[in-house]
């Protein structure tokens, strides 16, 4: 069975339509030009907008829950684990059918079918696996890691890739606690090391031409992994897991060794993210940096309580407003690198450079109109040029 469930040619045309949309939103091409490009690269996919996606997702969930209820009623809930497995198989069959025959792509229906099938499989294994709690959790985390990774590989589902990363972190946690009673400080360094390795892996994979369609998902993993690395050694995480989960005695609460390191990490790393983002002019890094810097001060207030919360709110509010106002004023004069003008879509357009390089679209544009009824599923498309092999 081919890895990708979708037609390569349609995926590529969809990317091109998206690029035209972003170029239009950035004010580089006109609405008429955008429509012309989108007409030139028509796609068969059924990808409704966000409201319809949510609506279709809700209705799919209603139907899926009703089917499960009927199955439970018909069998008197004799063997729920077999029913869960059956529901998973039915969900996947329907999902594949919807993709092949109805060309659903991020329609809400496929999202719900995919995730409910994974949940049903996990329920099945939850019933089947017996043994100590820690071991059960370890095995379940491995299974969910495999399932979500396969889901991302086949259906390009971005939530799946994030859940695969979460499963990976949970797997490391369970693996460690299975061998050692309760988390110790080594666990947090181990978690940080695994997260940072995922970050570099995701970065490396984005350079591979064959994985052009996975780039947006891998980029998400990259950012999530870097946040995960930060969170692994965040003072709150360490303190919460070491003390609150009562693996150490309460009397030790004031003696967290390396606390100076955790505090330093908690404060300095967000600043590094922010400065790095500003240096390379990358919006996601800037956003991560801003959110984490603000979160640090929030954490500082909640944890150390230097002033009353309401006074802190007023002071931080004034500070934030003053900083934002000052920067806006500054950018009115010095706007060579950064600007305060609203330009939606500009940053996304830069990200798509990677898609062009990977897919080798520069020299050879994909065929504009595929003949009606021609089946280009699983391995069609012939992209070359630009030094990329472009074999999909």
């Amino acid at each position: 069975m081919p890895m990708l469930a979708y037609n390569n040619s349609d995926l590529q045309k969809l990317e091109l339509q998206g690029i035209a949309e972003q170029a239009n939103r950035s004010g580089f091409i006109t609405e008429i030009e955008k429509l012309g490009i989108q007409k030139e690269y028509p796609v068969q996919f059924y990808s409704p907008n966000i409201f319809l996606r949510i609506g279709l997702g809700i209705l799919t969930q209603v139907a899926s829950a009703a089917l499960l209820g009927l199955a439970l009623l018909a069998t008197d809930a004799q063997s729920p684990e077999i029913l869960a497995l059956l529901m998973a198989v039915i969900s996947i069959i329907v999902l594949e059918w919807m993709i092949r025959n109805r060309h659903h792509y991020r329609s809400g229906v496929d999202d719900i079918l995919l995730h409910s099938s994974i949940i049903y499989v996990l329920i099945y294994f939850g019933f089947k696996i017996e043994g100590p709690e820690n071991l059960t959790q370890l095995i379940l985390s491995i299974i969910s890691l495999v399932l979500y990774s396969v889901a991302f590989s086949r259906y390009l589902d971005r939530l799946s890739v994030l859940l695969a990363l979460a499963s990976w972190g949970y797997f490391i946690y369970n693996l460690y606690t299975n061998f050692k009673q309760g988390p110790s400080q080594l666990l947090f360094f181990l978690l940080a090391a695994t997260m940072i390795s995922v970050f570099f892996l995701a970065r490396g994979l984005q350079k591979k031409n064959k994985l052009a369609f996975y780039h947006s998902g891998l980029r998400l993993v990259e950012y999530a992994a870097v946040i995960g690395t930060y969170a692994s050694l965040h003072y709150y995480t360490v303190e919460h897991l070491i003390f609150d989960m009562n693996f150490d005695s309460a009397g030790q609460q004031n003696s967290l060794s390396l606390s100076w390191f955790y505090w330093g990490w908690t404060f300095i790393v967000p600043l590094i993210f922010l400065l790095y983002g500003l240096k390379i002019k990358a919006r996601p890094w800037i956003r991560i940096g801003i959110v984490l810097v603000i979160a640090f001060f929030f954490f500082l207030q909640v944890h150390e309580n230097p002033v009353d919360h309401e006074i802190a709110a007023v002071l931080y509010g004034i500070l934030l407003a003053a900083i934002a106002f000052g920067i806006i004023k500054y950018l009115k004069i010095n706007n060579s690198k950064f600007t305060d003008q609203s330009i939606p879509g500009q940053s996304d357009l830069l990200f798509n450079e990677a898609f062009f390089i990977a897919a080798g679209l520069a020299g050879q544009i994909p065929q504009a109109q595929s003949p009606a009824g021609s089946d280009t599923r699983f391995g069609g498309g012939n992209f070359g040029g630009g030094g990329a092999s472009g074999e999909f």
């Binding site: 409201f51 002071l315 407003a321 003008q341």
Partner: protein, 330 residues
Amino acid sequence: MALAFFENLFRRGLVSEASLEKLKQFYAGHHSLSLHNELRAILYLGILLISSGTGVLVYKHIGQIGHVAIIISLLASCLACFGYCFWKRPKLKAGEKTISPILFDYIVLLGCLLLLILIAYLQSQFQFFGHRLGLATFIPMVLLFAFAYYFDHKGVLSLGIINLAAWVGININIKTFYGIAELNKKENIIAAFLLGIFLVLVAIAVKKRGIKAHFENIYHQFGSYALFLSGIAGIIMFENLYLVWLLLLLLVGLFHYKKAFREKSFYYLVITCLYCYVGLSYTLSDKLFSLLQPGNDQVYANLFYYLSTGVGLAYWLTQLNKKMNANASL
């Protein structure tokens, strides 16, 4: 690489020379990164922190600060905010696009939030409006609507509409699940339905007459939610008149369905289908399927109903979506 793609499109006549030039400039790196949204988000967070912090500060430190000091400082802050906005407000000239000063929208919002704190404080500490609680919500409502129109602020308009709902007896806040928990009384349901009709009529009027036509969407969204939610609540709460409420809900649905197609709005299409589906499903489950033999028969009927209608409505929505898209491209 990306530029080569656009150059190819230019050669094929799909992109003009002027557009290609802009793209060349962009890909050559001669562009500034826009921090517009990030800076506005920080500014907004700052204003929210100031207003919510002030509210709690006043509440917690009444004894220490003293009534007069609190009132004077709140009043002075409000006057300072509205004074700034009055002098800095964009002057509207026919045919010209106006640009507001950076902080304008945020200061208007801050001033209005502080005003609400001041009025709440005066009422709670001095019974400023006596026992006429309606007046305590009516006065700030009038002021909020006046400021929303004068300073042309959608956020303040939303605050005004929430105050209007409170005035008719429906508190929209997190404690009442944004008003849903208030719909357990018959008088509130009727009030919410009438409020919904009023807001939708206002939305139509402002659009038709061109009086701040851009406020239409705000009025309509609040009105639509009030109509749909009160319609469903009416079916549940009015035991003997549930068919009347079902009919009203379907009429509201029909109105929104037409609006969705007229304006090519997927948003209105989805909410119309889902709210009507909830109302209709509740009626069938509670009134029709309950006539069946209690036990498995009722459960089977319900499950078959939800299975078939879930699939059926999803299919119908996709067909409507395609129809709407086809019409849009005409």
